[in-house]
Symmetry: C2
Subunit: 288 residues, 2 copies
């Protein structure tokens, strides 16, 4: 199969926030025939156009979706399926739609209920981001070397998956990995939802004004993501709550083990536990 | 009171590991009259001497301590008081001894039981470090802009505290802050022991070979310190176990709150909780 040539494609990015803005900036480098954006903020659209990031901006989907071969949706998870549903009559025949939401099962289940047969929705998740929010913080660089997960369902056509994968590689991510959506949501609860919960909990443990004097690298790093987009993250946590609760339990079990070792002054077990964690981290870092 | 002139001082660093090596490299820049080191590893002493970091290295304290005005002890916490006790007859009259251990009450209580009246032991804690261990990883740069806590006791002489504080500022740390040793150990359990426990627990939660594909910044940062000096950290955790257990309880309470919000699908409380954490983090960052 020939590689998709992005120079012949018309592409629309929906939502020019931190992630959508970064997609637009990165996709621009693939020189698509046209790159459009849909956003509810006229000023952001104007800024994106005047800085050459997009060719044209729209406050709704009617016009750009009619001509778009590929649509990249970067809005809050619960708005993704709503946007697709609301624009069901607007998509071009045979268009490929993808998203960037951090959890996958829910949106895939919703979209398949009403998606036209000629359209294909490919779930995607870039493991990319940074603190803050909004177009002003967006950058094509967030994708460089980033992991990217694609969560195929039986209805997906191979050529749609390949189109999204080529786009992913084109913007600088690693070779995307295909993964069952349910498994995605299960593991992402550990690697993303849980660290965010931990950061918030740790930050809220700090009850002394003097805490700042005691900050070394470990506390700073563990709480880096305590400053997040609250609306987005509370939704992500709620939507993936079953998996998140499972991972919280597993984490609490592990903290409980350490607690017991300290209570029992079981130095040998504690050393073994810390050594095991260090080895696991080393394995991850080696694969990094 | 005149600033101590380090060019007139003879200084010994005990233990040329990551922290001790970094002290030696940083103190060298203050051009002391002599800078000596004590370590059990002859090769490390030779390396430190041949690279100009120290003037001479010794396998035991007898010779250098007899002439040292200031002794900086950078060995494992439980070895600090042992070293001082074993060398009680070797210290120069009126010498100031300081340490760099991450917990303070225990060593201060131990040392005061046998310290000669003419000697002064000033507890210190640089909030500086990095992954790894050993002289080869040491660097004078770890102190630049780092917080530094001094934990005075009633027997300390003001001039001894000032000598240590001048050394601390001289090697590039911020203005050191004086703090009650018990309070130090209480807060450090939150800002240092707890994040290390969390990193290990989070890392040991990872049970899938696929976890690496899911790693974004939040998991990477929260587990950065999972690769640590296991012997040192299990000792730090055990020695500060009461405070660490208290902070673990507080942390578990906070994780429990989030768990309940998720179970009850209480989105409003979750948003409020995350917002509060974000504000606390912003306050810390502002003071950074």
């Amino acid at each position: 199969m020939a590689e998709p040539d992005f120079r012949g494609l018309e592409i629309t990015v929906v939502g020019l926030g931190l992630i959508g803005g970064s997609f637009a900036k990165a996709i621009r480098k693939l020189s698509p025939k046209n790159l459009w954006a849909v956003d509810i903020d006229k000023k952001v659209l104007e800024l994106a156009k005047s800085t050459g990031v997009i060719d044209e901006g729209y406050l709704s989907g009617e016009i750009p979706l009619r001509s778009s071969d590929l649509v990249v949706i970067c809005v809050y998870p619960e708005l993704t399926s709503k946007f697709i549903k609301d624009n069901m009559d607007n998509f071009r025949q045979g268009a490929v739609i993808t998203d960037a939401a951090g959890i996958k099962t829910k949106v895939l289940n919703e979209v398949r209920m009403f998606l036209r047969n000629d359209l294909d929705f490919v779930g995607g998740h870039p493991l990319a981001g940074k603190e803050g929010s909004g177009f002003s913080k967006s950058s094509a660089d967030i994708f460089l070397g980033a992991n990217y997960l694609i969560t195929p369902v039986v209805t997906n056509q191979e050529k749609s998956l390949i189109l999204v994968e080529e786009m992913v590689k084109g913007i600088g991510c690693r070779q995307p990995v295909r993964m069952d959506p349910a498994k995605h949501d299960e593991i992402i609860a550990l690697t993303s939802q849980l660290p965010h919960i931990i950061a918030a909990a740790l930050m809220n443990c700090s009850q002394s004004d003097d805490t700042g004097l005691f900050i070394g690298g470990s506390f700073k790093d563990a709480t880096r993501v305590a400053q997040i987009n609250v609306e987005l993250w509370s939704k992500l946590l709620m939507e993936n709550r079953e998996n998140t609760l499972t991972q919280i339990e597993l984490f609490l079990e592990n903290i409980g083990k350490i607690k017991q070792m300290l209570q029992e002054e079981d130095n040998a077990s504690l050393e073994e536990y810390l050594r095991s964690a260090g080895k696991a981290k080393a394995r991850l870092t080696d694969n990094d």
